[in-house]
């Protein structure tokens, strides 16, 4: 009886380890990056800006990007955020999708430095993978650089 119990235990143990590693392997194959040179200011007062974020899904499962919450940083200091204005994004396996994220600068004390500060990105996104119950919360960090370009309207 012990050997039967042990055999069942080994089988379920291997299955559990396989599920765990498979899920983590899926989680680690989603890439998030800032599209270089995509950031532009939308007004000369540095009140609003827009950047392109690219999601690349190299995992074996389709993904849905929810809750894109990104902050805009001036020299590492919080300047503003997209304030959840970005809609959900579906990224099929093996594909890439780009989304334009618009930022609203709310820190009036440093707003005027928008053209001279080193801009950066921070925040988090929530990713749901098809076939995986657990959602993936990813922290996002990136450097945009110094941008003084204002989009012509």
């Amino acid at each position: 009886m012990s050997l039967v119990i042990g055999a069942a235990g080994v089988w379920t143990l291997v299955d559990a380890a396989s599920q765990y590693t498979s899920t983590l392997r899926t989680f680690t194959q989603l890439e998030i990056r800032y599209e270089p040179d995509s950031f532009v200011w939308l007004d000369p007062e540095f009140n609003r800006g827009r950047a392109t974020i690219v999601f690349t899904n190299n995992s074996p499962a389709d993904a849905r990007i929810d809750d894109i919450n990104l902050n805009l940083l001036f020299d590492g200091e919080f300047a503003g955020s997209n304030y959840g204005s970005t809609e959900s994004l579906d990224v099929a396996r093996g594909e890439s999708q780009a989304v334009e994220v618009e930022f609203q600068v709310t820190s009036r004390s440093i707003q005027s430095h928008g053209g001279s500060a080193v801009l950066g990105l921070g925040g988090s996104v929530v990713v749901k993978f098809r076939g995986i119950e657990r959602d993936l919360g990813l922290r996002v960090r990136g450097t945009i650089g110094q941008v003084s370009t204002v989009e012509e309207t």
Partner: protein, 169 residues
């Protein structure tokens, strides 16, 4: 004169081998329960089972082990070893993605896996020891029958010998 015979006793190496095989099987079974009941893996592994199995299962498995071993000290030693090794397997599963190169090998992850293994060891130790002791005392007749120390009654005709002596109980 009553002819009695004894069932052939198991040799010591064979008994050790059987106990070792049983211990390994039960330890791996307990490790599987640890993995499926662990809060750290609850969102990753299905089926996920209740924490109560971390108490019930070591009690039953150690009881099964204790029922087949004649020495209480060996039962306790093997029970403790079973808890430690099965918890170590849980730690190994938690760290497995790092070994496979899926995630980075960080001190944080090492500490995380170690802490979970220690927690499960402490959680399962007491019920396992209790189960081992209970199983040991309840399994006395089972052990005697298995090791041939019990008089089996009149022998079959092919085992009878004219000069066979009664067994000293």
């Amino acid at each position: 004169m009553v002819d009695v015979s004894r069932r052939p006793a198991l040799s010591l190496p064979l008994r050790i081998a059987l106990v070792a095989a049983q211990w390994m099987a039960l330890t791996l079974a307990l490790a599987s329960v640890n993995v499926h009941a662990s809060g750290a893996l609850r969102d990753y592994v299905t089926p996920s089972i209740s924490d109560s199995y971390l108490v019930l299962t070591p009690f039953l498995l150690a009881g099964l082990l204790g029922a087949t071993i004649g020495s209480l000290r060996i039962v306790l030693a093997l029970t403790v070893a079973m808890c430690v090794v099965s918890a170590a397997v849980l730690g190994g599963v938690l760290y497995l993605p790092a070994w496979l190169g899926i995630t980075a090998r960080t001190v944080g992850l090492q500490n995380y896996a170690t802490q979970h293994a220690l927690f499960v060891t402490m959680w399962t130790l007491l019920p396992a020891v209790a189960g081992g002791v209970v199983g040991h005392f309840l399994g006395g007749s089972l052990r005697r029958a298995a090791t041939g120390d019990q008089i089996a009654g009149p022998p079959a005709w092919w085992d009878r010998q004219s000069d066979e002596k009664p067994h000293d109980a």
